[in-house]
């Protein structure tokens, strides 16, 4: 895949997508919560900038709308909400101890390679641009997934989820010319409601386990060591 075969514009779009992927890596390895929230905001801004560029070049007016929506929702509102919640929960200086950060980053690299491997047969060889950008957006989705698996702090898990959404959005904008308007509004509404509900849950979780480390939520695991009751108690 030679990138210089692409037009300058496509190279610019790929640069923006690549930067979003880079932010995903930052999110995985950033132990300080507030800094991670800020990085997430930058990812939102990057995705929005990419959408705006695509809107201008494709002459697709609905994309202007989605660019604005992404900027407001992912770049401003959700980071602001999470930041405020972090302050109210007294987490501004919070720094999470990451488990095996190097290994997780390495796993992230493998996920990027995996995305390219998965996407390769899907798109014809000529469409280098589409192929790159779908692979990158899938990588952003999978890295968000990885983050949700390896971070045990509730707010960090939410960041992982939201960056997954960013990756999905990236895929929708770049592989196609954006989803139909009703769908986009519906997805945005769901994300918004999810963000608010996550906020509610931070307080519920802290109330119940006095911490936001979701590793301590372990009351409901299957308990194999207890012998289940047998039917000795039946009368007669």
């Amino acid at each position: 895949m030679t990138l210089n075969a692409l037009t300058l514009l496509q190279q610019f779009l790929i640069l923006l997508a690549g930067l979003s992927l880079f932010v995903s890596f930052i999110l995985i390895a950033q132990p300080r919560l507030v800094a991670a929230i800020h990085s997430f905001a930058w990812q939102g801004v990057l995705v929005s900038a990419l959408t705006l560029t695509a809107a201008m070049t494709n002459q697709a007016p609905p994309l202007y709308f989605s660019a604005g929506l992404t900027l407001v929702l992912k770049g401003l509102f959700i980071p602001w909400l999470l930041h405020r919640l972090a302050l109210r929960l007294g987490l501004e200086g919070h720094s999470e101890t990451l488990r095996w950060p190097e290994l997780v980053l390495l796993a992230g690299v493998f996920l990027v390679i995996f995305s390219y491997w998965l996407v390769e047969p899907m798109v014809e060889r000529e469409l280098i641009f589409t192929r790159n950008i779908i692979a990158v957006s899938l990588a952003v989705v999978l890295l968000g997934f990885l983050m949700m698996v390896f971070r045990t702090q509730a707010v960090a898990q939410v960041l992982g989820f939201m960056s997954m959404e960013n990756g999905l959005f990236l895929a929708a904008v770049s592989a196609t010319t954006g989803m139909p308007m009703v769908v986009e509004l519906g997805v945005a509404f769901d994300v918004l409601v999810a963000a608010v509900l996550f906020g509610v849950f931070f307080f519920q979780i802290r109330e119940s386990i006095d911490s936001l480390d979701v590793d301590r939520l372990n009351r409901l695991a299957e308990t194999p060591d207890v012998e289940p009751m047998l039917s000795e108690e039946i009368g007669e």
């Binding site: 196609t176 509404f189 769901d190 999810a194 109330e207 409901l220 108690e233």
Partner: protein
């Protein structure tokens, strides 16, 4: 005004009104009334579809497509929603009166109940794969606060797990949806219609098979999380056991069905796309694999449960696995059996959860080893539980026996060696259920255990219907399911 608008707008407006409705006694009745109205709307819709065949409608720029397959699920959803509302009215009043939840939480409960019904009905009726995704994610959002309604540490944990797992799963499904849309871009004349299921279905053989194959894996994992397929099932027992009982009834009876409906619709697209390739059965094989694993694993897990609601949620996973397997098997007999099984399982399982709600109320606990002597304390609850469990375990003359028999016959025809696995799975699940059921219904009740005011009407209606379906499937219903079978597989059974 049509059946469809009534079906969708009743829960929408009802949900919005219930947020503000302060008199608690009235709210329960209002919830019931709205559910009744939805049921009327769905029956009206069914009548229209029966006359016209396929109904295509557009409301507020959203396309709807209702055919024999989804209209039967719409009626089922509205019906179970209605009977559960009958049960939930006094039950939740009692929960509220006992101080477990505040009046504000009860208001939230009623409003979200309708919101959940709305998302289910929207997911079933829409023609747009994007809206389908939005509605199924909306169902998670509507129910997640209900799971944590009691605010115990366990409930909050269950809700968090539910929220995170289902959101992640459903995010993967959205990626699959985007890929489907991508495949449609080069095929459809109007790319903007690329998420319309009917447009995609008519051109399915043109969709790029490589893209569709990968898209289906994402879609199956995503929606499969909501179906409760192993290994993505972790949220299901927790959410069912910690949420309020009416919620467990509708989650098990409806949400799982709707998610499976989404999987089947998408399988139809992928089958069309892969028909000319070397692996035309790929989607079916994946469904069979996931279904069989879920069926067997859940059956084994039934044996080590100590919480009665957890036990029955594993039974739901087991049955969803069986249906997924049957849809994967394909062919008209298996599909007919799976459709029938969806119907009878929903009816039976919601009846079980309603009965379990009363049983836990009598015993004051959900722990299996502390629920004893139900028949002596309150025969209506004890016998209902016994009969309902006999029905869910597949005893004749109940409907589940009929559908499981059809499924076994179909398996015997096309994959004979898998019949053995199915039979042993059914046996394991049967043993698991009855092992705990026996001491719960018979046995000596603890000192001072008293009967509670119970509303057994929904249970009686459901079990009566399941019995009827087991003895003789009415002609119109058989025709109806046959038409749905024809839509899915292309061939008639009857």
């Amino acid at each position: 005004m049509s059946g469809l608008t009534l079906t969708l707008f009743a829960p929408l407006l009802g949900g919005l009104t219930l947020v503000w409705l302060r008199p608690l006694g009235l709210a329960g009745w209002f919830n019931l009334g709205v559910s009744g109205l939805t049921l009327v709307g769905s029956l009206w819709l069914a009548k229209t579809v029966a006359q016209k065949g396929i109904l295509v409608e557009s409301i507020a720029g959203m396309g709807f497509r209702i055919d024999a397959f989804n209209v039967y699920l719409v009626v089922l959803t509205a019906f179970v929603g209605f009977t559960t509302a009958i049960f939930s009215r006094p039950y939740m009043r009692h929960v509220c009166a006992s101080g477990k939840i505040s009046p504000a939480s009860l208001r939230l409960y009623h409003s979200l109940y309708q919101a959940f019904m709305l998302t289910m009905l929207l997911a079933l009726t829409t023609d747009n794969l994007g809206i389908l995704w939005v509605a199924i994610e909306g169902a998670t959002l509507a129910t997640v606060l209900l799971v944590s309604l009691y605010r115990t540490p366990e409930a909050v944990e269950a809700a968090w797990k539910y929220f995170i797992l289902c959101s992640v799963g459903i995010a993967l499904a959205l990626f699959g949806t985007v890929l489907t849309y991508f495949a449609a871009q080069h095929v459809l004349a109007d790319p903007a219609a690329g998420l319309s299921w009917s447009a995609l279905y008519s051109q399915a053989q043109m969709l790029n098979p490589t893209v569709m194959r990968i898209a289906f894996v994402f879609l199956l994992v995503g929606y499969g999380t909501k179906v409760g397929l192993v290994p993505m099932h972790q949220w299901l027992p927790d959410a069912h056991s910690e949420g309020p009982t009416p919620m467990s009834a509708v989650l098990s009876g409806l949400l799982l069905n709707v998610a499976l409906y989404a999987v089947v619709r998408l399988k139809m697209l992928v089958d069309g796309s892969l028909a000319q390739t070397q692996t035309p059965q790929l989607a079916g094989i994946l469904l069979m694999g996931f279904g069989m694993v879920s069926f067997l694993v859940a059956g084994l897990f039934l044996h080590r449960q100590r919480d009665i609601k957890r036990m029955f949620s594993y039974s739901s996973i087991e049955h969803m696995g069986l249906m997924t397997f049957a849809f994967g098997l394909g062919g008209s007999l298996a599909t007919f059996g799976a459709l029938l099984h969806m119907l009878v399982h929903s009816l039976t399982k919601s009846a079980i959860f309603v009965t379990v709600g009363h049983a836990t109320h009598i015993a004051g606990t959900q722990a299996i080893d502390r629920i004893r002597g139900l028949i002596r304390t309150q025969p209506a609850v004890g016998w209902s539980l016994l009969i309902a469990v006999a029905a869910i375990a597949g005893f004749p003359p109940f409907g589940i026996f009929a559908s499981e028999f059809l499924l076994l016959t179909a398996t015997m025809q096309s994959q004979p060696w898998l019949t053995l696995a199915l039979l042993s799975g059914l046996g394991i699940a049967f043993a698991g259920l009855f092992r705990y059921l026996h001491p719960m219904v018979y046995g000596q009740p603890p000192e001072g255990q008293q009967a509670v005011p119970a509303n057994m009407i929904p249970v009686l209606i459901h079990l009566g219907l399941v019995l009827w379906l087991g003895l003789a499937i009415p002609e119109f219903l058989a025709q109806w399911l046959d038409r749905a079978t024809q839509l899915i597989t292309g061939t008639h059974l009857l």
